[in-house]
Symmetry: C2
Subunit: 532 residues, 2 copies
């Protein structure tokens, strides 16, 4: 075989767009498997609607409809919201350009981040049914429009067609698309479950779902209180890499490194700047941050790690809140008992704040009915977004499965228990692009364990009380059966009246089991959690 | 809180480059964890060198050097090959533009595919040490050059500096970079193991490794036969999606759909075209393929599935070959025994061909030494590239762990066994971007099982023989011990000479265990595999 020269080989050199890349690697966007692909579409659109409403300060009302199309594995999915809408000038790029959006580079907790989701849906419609998506948007300025949108994948650019204007004083967005290679399933991994959990973690949202069989499920708002928008904060020095620091420095307009550190990062006082300068003593803190070299940055980062810091602010985190979780759980599960925990902010990787919330509910609609009885359910959330897939790699599942559940009188394999965990952070460390699981960072795992343990202890008291009650009821019944036999025998032995003997034994036994004289409902201490 | 209008929100609208995206999501490129990140760098460069040599028809010689830098977790990694080099005009884009390369869209088995790997390394150097990579390239045309290359991440464009020309008649490529956030480990997940396995699956390559402790490991070529380049073939109709068919049609210059089908896909004869046309009877086969609609394409795809097809050609697959695997295994493990299997081409997803090769070796350097003895090793390969991570999700591990190993007299937890599996295909279905595991497609799992079972049966014969031998040796020893006692007792009972009695017993026993008279090495049938 003759050797080939580089010049000849490189004649075939080409560049590809990111849209071409994801077209070939759709599994990277969550489109792997028919059931998961359907939930991915619902997830992307609903997440965008919630984020948009929050940004605009609107209590969200979202309606999701899924209709089976004539051909197999194809579904028409329609999402309507009452959000701010998308201006005509941006609609193409927002829905049909991968890596375009409004949410980049903010150091604040939000659901979406990368400008991939909605454009990914458009791409998926295109490669599975060849159809554009149809969009209607009205932004409250009197004008509305609708149009068809698809992606020119070679250029990663939107193609907009059939634009029609209409008058509307309202605002909102409606997206309709036909998608293929899907399967609708009413399971733990299905769209309905996804929306149920979304409602749980977003009690301020109203969500309506119409399934392929035309049944409507409504998840009403359980609060009218709009969650406060998390405030973007300055990053904490301990969360920085050398590269991060340099990027901030090179974008800075400050006149000195001292001033730059003081103004760019949280918890940095003039005293701290002095400490850093002393620790990184051969870096010139008077020079412009633009001139900071990699070596300077390395020295500063090293100095930062040697200094004591106050924990980061957590005003850029917005957990759901104990009260709201309680209301939502009550709304959805109507459990016999539950216990809700909101932990204080913690940090991981030295400087990134996060908050864990957990709730454990028992009985009512908690857990899952199985052929043999019940099994427990773990409901995972990251920044209020339900995580339905990839539980095998998730910090939440890992923490929960690693607990010694016997200590809490609970069997998560067999009991009617629902375990809720929400991790909130401006930087959730997802383990993959699909954002379906949280990476197993030690600090996060520990904190989740503490939260779930605390919530479980609350439930344990109720379950133990219930078990004692059942246990005593059992003993009482056995003794009473024995009492009947005993009174019959005593009667025939002594010739005395059997009923009188039985009555005497009964009152004797009852005096030993006073609790059983009361009805369980009256036992208010054991149900305190529900009333809070 | 006041509502915000869409116009105001969308002022923040931005577009990001793919380089920015991967900068924030480096775990997607395999840079998650320090040990894995180091292997990812070695993997990307070595894969590129092997592919380049193969394309140019050159027997590869590759040298990888890893040196610890002064600061912690930083390493200097140098890769040199004797490949075709990269022309000056392309070097920036090839090494510092994500999604650029020569390997797109070919329907042929190759290691790299997406034009991400090498640019990802440049990006990783940049974000972990702030340094460009240094490249030297000489393409055999008399001129060579060297330069520094980094990525302008905002634009996803190369930045080339310090270009120097030099004269050289040879050809090759040398890349040197300093990378941070790494850890060198001499383990199953380390660079040395990666290269050892690369040598195993590429017996035509010479690979030299110099580790941080300056020890040199050489994996010599075990064959001088250049693997035949797999020929790109036409795709098989059963592997097509509607979208694929449409894309082919819209790029086609044929004048009719009939002609297009006949010329574009494999196994399509005029008779087959007629069959397709009859099955998709309202599609006009005379119109230009450019005018094929989505609905036409859907009908044709449906028709394709209703027709009987000959299996796809497999000339675009190039397995390693039984002989070559045997030589390489012998070279590296020097096992007591091994059995190598190359299976025939099969197809998955209806139309994508693949070939499985497997080898099982026993003893010698097979398996892994542990404190308690040994444990078996599974060596996974896809298109000759070793897979070291994510075994939990891989079809190869799944198939092997699902086998009933007792049937083969092997215990993969405790025996000195190495199990080699290589899956070759123009389209390996990787489960993630990191390309570290093969998705669990049923057809592929079944075929892997059959291959490993066949190889294991070969080894079983040897192991059983060995076990029988050991078993008989044990019995012989016990009887002989007993014989000594017996002869002593008989001697004192009868007064006859003890030694004579013992001698008689011995010859009696030996006549019952004739095999033990021979030395095991002479038992040629049990070692046949090695000689083949």
């Amino acid at each position: 075989m003759a050797e080939r020269k580089a010049d000849e080989i490189f004649k075939e050199f080409k560049e590809h767009s990111i849209a071409e890349f994801f077209k070939k690697n759709r599994q990277m966007l969550g489109y792997s498997g028919k059931v998961r692909s359907l939930v991915t579409i619902v997830h992307e659109y609903v997440t965008n609607s919630l984020d948009a409403c929050e940004e605009a300060g609107i209590l969200p009302s979202i309606k999701v409809s899924i209709k089976a199309e004539e051909s197999e594995e194809k579904y028409r999915i329609i999402i309507e919201d009452n959000g701010p809408g998308i201006p005509k000038a941006y609609v193409g790029k927002a829905l049909a350009t991968i890596l375009a959006g409004t949410k980049f580079n903010r150091y604040v907790q939000q659901r979406g981040q990368q400008g991939i989701g909605a454009a990914g849906c458009t791409l998926y419609a295109q490669i599975t049914t060849g159809k554009p998506i149809h969009v209607a948007s009205w932004t409250g300025t009197g004008d509305g429009f609708e149009c068809d949108i698809s992606i020119d994948t070679v250029k990663n650019r939107p193609v907009t067609n059939n634009v029609m204007d209409f008058k509307s004083q309202g605002r909102g967005l409606r997206i309709e698309g036909v998608f293929g290679d899907l399967k609708y399933e009413n399971s733990e991994h299905g769209a309905l479950e996804y929306l149920k959990r979304t409602a749980l973690s977003n009690p301020h949202a109203e969500i309506i779902f119409v399934g392929p069989d035309n049944t409507e499920s409504i998840f009403p708002r359980s609060t009218d209180i709009m969650p406060t928008r998390p405030a973007p904060t300055k990053p904490h020095p301990l969360g920085l890499s050398v590269n991060d620091l340099l990027e901030f420095a090179h974008l800075s307009k400050n006149t000195s490194i001292s001033e730059f550190l003081l103004e760019t990062f949280s918890r940095v006082s003039q005293n701290k700047v002095n400490e850093i300068r002393d620790a990184a003593n051969d870096v010139d803190f008077k020079k412009q941050p633009k001139e900071m070299s990699w070596i300077d940055a390395e020295k500063i980062i090293k100095a930062l790690k040697d200094i004591k810091w106050i924990s980061p602010e957590s005003t850029n985190i917005r957990p759901i809140g104990e009260e709201q979780i309680r209301k939502a759980m009550q709304n959805i599960f109507m459990p016999e008992f539950m216990h809700v925990i909101e932990r204080k902010p913690r940090i991981f990787r030295g400087g990134i704040p996060f908050v864990v919330e957990s709730a454990v509910s028992y009985g009512g609609g908690s857990g899952k009915k199985t052929d043999e009885g019940y099994s427990g359910t773990i409901m995972r959330f990251a920044n209020r977004v339900p995580l339905l897939f990839d539980s095998g790699t998730c910090a939440i599942s890992y923490a929960i499965k690693g607990m010694d559940w016997k200590r809490y009188n609970l069997d998560i394999e067999k009991d009617p228990v629902s375990i809720f965990v929400n991790v909130s952070s401006p930087h959730i460390p997802y383990s993959g692009v699909g954002k379906e699981s949280i990476a197993q960072e030690d600090d996060i795992i520990d904190e989740i364990k503490l939260a779930v343990m605390e919530a479980s202890r609350g439930v344990q008291r109720y379950v133990s009380g219930k078990m004692n009650l059942e246990h005593e009821a059992n003993r009482y019944e056995i003794i009473m059966r024995y009492a009947k036999q005993l009174s019959r025998d005593l009667s025939s032995l002594t010739g005395k009246d059997q009923e009188r003997i039985e009555g005497e034994i009964e009152s004797l036994v009852e005096s030993k089991f006073p609790k059983l004289k009361k009805k369980p409902e009256e036992n208010s201490t054991q149900l305190e959690g529900l009333e809070k």
